[in-house]
Amino acid sequence: MTAKPYLTRLAIWLLVSLPALTAFVFVTPADFSSAGAVLNLMGRLSGGLGLAGLLVAAVLSCRIPGFDQSFGGLTKLWQLHHKLGLSAFILLLAHPLLLAFAAAEVSLAAAADSLFSMQPTVLYGWLALLALMAFIAPTFHVFGEPDYQRWKRLHRLAAVVLMFGLLHSLMLGRTLPASWNKLLWGGLGLLALSAMAYRWLFSRYYGRYRYRICNVAAVSDNVVELSLQPLQVPLRYRPGQFIYLTPFASELLAGAGEEHPFTLSSAPSEPVLRLAIKTLGDATKALQSITPGSDVTVEGPYGCFFRQTELKTKGLWIAGGIGIVPFLSYLRHCASQHQAADVQLIYCVQDEQHLLFAPELQQLTAVIEGYHFTPHFFSRHGALDLDFITQHCSDLRARQVWICGPPPLILLSRGIVLGAGVTSGDIVTEEFTLL
C-alpha cells in the first residue's frame, strides 16, 4: 500500500520549509527592530527556502523506479519538481533584492555593495543564481519550445547551482547557529548529492535492463511497435506503465544513446516487452525504420496510471491518439489472464485513418467480458461532448474515469466528466508533455 499522493506532497513541502521553520526558533527581537531588519530577515528566509526548494527538487529528479508511486506516478512527481523549481527560482531572485533593500536603510551605497560585492561568498551566490537562470530560462519558451535533449543537458547546471548555493549559504548563513546550519544544509545537500549520483552514475551503469529488439511492426505510417527480448533479468511492471528506452543502433540517424520515455503496450505476462512509438521528433522518427537485432537499455517502470492489475470499479476510458497504449496494455493483460473488465473505452482520433490497433481493440471485445469499444472521430462527431459520452456510457457517474492523450483532450474530457458530477478523486489522467 503506497502513501496517498497529497500526504507525500505535504511531506515534501514540509521538508522544503524545514530550514525556514527552524530559523524561526532562532529569530530575535532585533530582527524586527526596523523596516530594514525585517527586510533583511525576509531576504535570509527567502534564500533559505529557495535553496531548500532547489535541493529537494534535485532529490525528486533522481527517478528511482518505484519512488514515483507515492506521488501518483512520475508525471505527477515531475509536476511537483517543476513547481518546486520555479518557486525556488522566484524566492532566490527575491533573496538578494530584499537584502539590498534592507541595506538601503543605511545608504544607497550599502544597498549596492550588498548586491555587487566582490567578496568570494557573494560571488558564489551570483554564480549559483546565473547558472540557475541559464537552465530555467528555456522553460519560459521565449525562443519557442526547447529541444528536449538540449534542455536535459542544460539541467546538469543544477550541480553548479547547488554546489555554489550551498557554499554561499554555509559561509554566510547567520540565521541559524553554525552547528544547525551545517546539519541542515549538510543533510539536504547529501540527499541531493545522493540523488544526482544515482541519476548520473548508478542508473547509467547498473540501474538499466538490457534488451534486444526482436521485432519491428508498423502500426500506421507514423507509429511502430517494437518488441524487445530480455538479455538478462526481465523488467517487472504493471499494465499502463512506461519506461525510458535508450537505443544503441549505429544505423540510427538520430537519437542513438539518448533516452526517451515510451509507454509499454504489452501485457506484463508476455515474454517480450512491447512499446508503441509515434514520430514526434528526430529520435522517434529514426526509430520507425530501425531493423531488429540491435541492443537497447530499459529503465523503469514508472507511472501509476492503473494502481491495480485488476480494476475494482467500473471504468470509463478516454484515449486520444497514441494515448491508447496504456489501455491496450491493460486489455492485453485482461485477455492473457482471462480477466473481466467492466470498461467503456472511447477512443478519440481525427478519422478512421488515425485509429491505432483498431482490429485488435475490436477483437478484444469478444474476449474480455464487460469491455466495450467506441471510436470517436473528430471529423465526423466534432469535439467530444457529454452527449456522446452518455450515449455510450449512461451510468457515467457510477464509473471511475481514466484519460490519456494530448493535453487539450485531457482538459476537455476532464471538464466534461467533472461537469457531469464525477468527482476529481475518480479521475485519473496521464499526460506526456515537456513541462
Binding site: F89, L93, S107, A110, F140
Partner: protein, 118 residues
C-alpha cells in the same frame, strides 16, 4: 507559475540594474576625509561597556552603542569586543564565517573615525 517566474526574472534585472546605475550616479561617502578624527587603542579601550561600546575594525573606529540592541546575536556575544580591536570578531562571527557584505556596509553608519597608527 511560468508567467510569474518570467515576470520575477524581468523585475529582478530591472531592480538590480537600477540599483547598479544609481550607485554609479550618486556619490558615496568615499575614502576617509583628511579632517577625520583619529583614535588610539587606549581611547577605544575606555568605551568597553554594552551601553558605550567602541570597536576598531580594519583600521576604522566605530561607536556601536546604538547598534547593540539591534544586533541579531545576543549582546553578550558582541560585548566581549567592546573597547577592543575587533576585526577578527567581524570576520569570523566566533565560528569562522565572515559577516555578509550587507553587514559590512551597515557598519558605515556607526563609523566615527580612523585608528591612529602606533
Amino acid at each position: 507559475m511560468k508567467s510569474l517566474s518570467f515576470i520575477a526574472f524581468i523585475v529582478f534585472w530591472s531592480v538590480a540594474g537600477t540599483l547598479f546605475a544609481l550607485s554609479l550616479l550618486v556619490p558615496g561617502s568615499g575614502p576617509v576625509s583628511a579632517g577625520e578624527k583619529t583614535y588610539t587603542l587606549q581611547d577605544i579601550a575606555r568605551h568597553n561597556r554594552t551601553d558605550d561600546c567602541w570597536m576598531a575594525i580594519a583600521g576604522q573606529v566605530y561607536d556601536f552603542s546604538r547598534f547593540m540592541p539591534k544586533h541579531p546575536a545576543p549582546p553578550a556575544i558582541l560585548a566581549v569586543w567592546c573597547g577592543k580591536e575587533a576585526t577578527q570578531g567581524m570576520k569570523t562571527k566566533g565560528y569562522g564565517n565572515d559577516h555578509s557584505p550587507a553587514a559590512w556596509a551597515m557598519t558605515e553608519a556607526y563609523r566615527i573615525g580612523v585608528l591612529k597608527k602606533e
